[in-house]
Symmetry: C2
Subunit: 307 residues, 2 copies
């Protein structure tokens, strides 16, 4: 494996950056991985578990001499980080991110990019409900999608290099324009997360009615929602604030559909419900046929202490 | 293991009845398991895979001489089945069901119950997104909850026997009154299923916008919904039609919460979102501490061909 980038700087040391570091080491893809996180605690943990080769005390310091800089901070923080590191970027450095939205990242980052450097967005569609420096693992990106979102005027050679890098990390690559990226993600990720957060919030509110029963009997369906509703709050706050239009658009469609089903329940229209449920079942099949989930009952769930 | 019921009759031969049969055999809990299903195809499959000891051609025939009769048909079909089998029940037989709602099952079944027999409801809170006679497995109920819902005037000795039977099948027992059962299930199961069905329906609708991308990138969150949205359409139609009040009540609270979050997104109120997401995260912890789900990332999901 020839080195694509000699030195990689990771700004932010959470689940994604940590997993990138471990995957880069696994593939011997860089000579040195330098990392910085805003929180002292995170930096200490990163040093303790040897998450990266060198943990430094500032983002400016981290990017010095780096051939690739990865912004792995919440979307809302990217503009500020970019502004801080811009003057310190190596000549011809590539800057990328791992944010779940893209248009607003472009808007926040581009104004600060120096002429000599290249910004190319990436969105590794991988992660778990866990977060923080201890949550990372080297195989996180294996056979998962990484959407690469280049600006209109990107240099093709640099885009190809970044794609090659993500492939070496284990991911499958797809190229997308920022607007389309944000719409697709609103459908497959952002709105489902908001719905899950809401359902979990409602159930918790009802614990006043149902005491511990909500948790005790959660295996009946509810618990499937609690996993994605346990994702990092800061990250998701920023996702919704920065992909507002697309999320609100999909939410509008969701409530429209929900009201139609609610009405069918109220009026006892069983045929509408049956047809709807039959149809959605076919979509699950499509996902299984596309190899996007396991067909094992219950996700082949690892048995919990008590299910 | 002393026999609790010598002969068990299973009306309906889907996932639940099939799994009961296999679990009863595993524990040698009955001398004979007789089964009937309305569809010829299901009866043929049941015979082919030897799902029960004897498959008969009518529900009336199935219950003859049975000490325990289990109605494992959709909730909407229970009244009709009960009416048909009532005259043929053995003296002192126990009739139970496995429906996901209880009040309406009582309403449908009780008027037909002969004086000499005993109806006691059960709700094994177990299942997978798969259905049909081939979907069953002996361990389905192991360490899962089975809610036993006796009528107010039930004979305690019969209730205890049924509880003992379910424990021998592998389940943990909890007793509940019908109204409370229906409310708790509306929260932990019924409403979450309707929400999942809706989200999946919306995403499918958007395939016009996003082509295959909805399925291709479903691992980003959406696919978690598609599992429970793949459950048996007939069963769920009946659940919503028969637990109407409780489901609509919880749905009302859900839309109320959703609109509050939607408003926070529209107005850019990040604090509200952050607090909400932090709170829901704690609920996931509660479920894990209660041993109700696995803490393995991604449910410890069996890797799909391509995730």
């Amino acid at each position: 494996m020839t080195l694509i980038y000699k030195r990689v700087a990771l700004i932010g040391l959470g689940l994604i950056a940590g997993s990138m570091s471990l995957a880069i080491r696994r593939g011997k893809l860089a000579e040195e991985i330098v990392g910085y996180a805003r929180s002292q605690e995170t930096r200490d943990i990163a040093r303790e578990i040897n998450l990266v080769d060198r943990v430094v005390e500032s983002a400016e310091e981290a990017v010095k001499g780096a051939d690739l800089v990865v912004l792995a901070v919440p979307v809302g923080a990217m503009g500020g980080v970019m502004e801080a590191i811009a003057p310190h970027l190596k000549e011809g450095a590539v800057v990328s991110d791992v944010g779940s939205v893209k248009q607003s990242v472009f808007d926040a980052v581009m104004p600060h990019m120096p002429e000599h450097a290249h910004f190319i967005g990436s969105h590794p569609m991988a992660g778990t409900e866990h977060s923080g420096p201890r949550a990372g693992f080297a195989t996180l990106f294996d056979n998962r999608w990484c959407l690469i979102v280049p600006p209109a005027d990107a240099e093709q050679a640099e885009v190809d290099k970044l794609a090659e890098f993500w492939r070496a990390i284990g991911a499958d690559i797809e190229f997308m324009e920022p607007e389309r990226h944000d719409l697709v993600c609103a459908v497959v990720s952002h709105t489902p997360h908001l719905i899950a957060y809401t359902m979990v919030g409602v159930a918790d509110d009802l614990r006043r009615v149902t005491e511990r029963e909500v948790i005790k009997f959660s295996a009946a369906g509810f618990r499937d929602f609690t996993r994605i509703a346990a994702s990092d709050p800061t990250m998701w706050r920023d996702v919704f604030l920065t992909n507002k239009e697309a999320t609100l658009e999909i939410l509008g469609r969701f409530t429209e559909e929900l009201f139609a089903l609610q009405r069918a329940i109220r009026t006892g229209d069983g045929d509408t419900l049956f047809d709807y449920f039959t149809h959605t079942r076919a979509i699950r099949r499509g996902i299984l046929e596309a190899g996007q989930d396991t067909d094992a009952p219950d996700f082949g769930r690892t048995k919990a202490a008590k299910e």
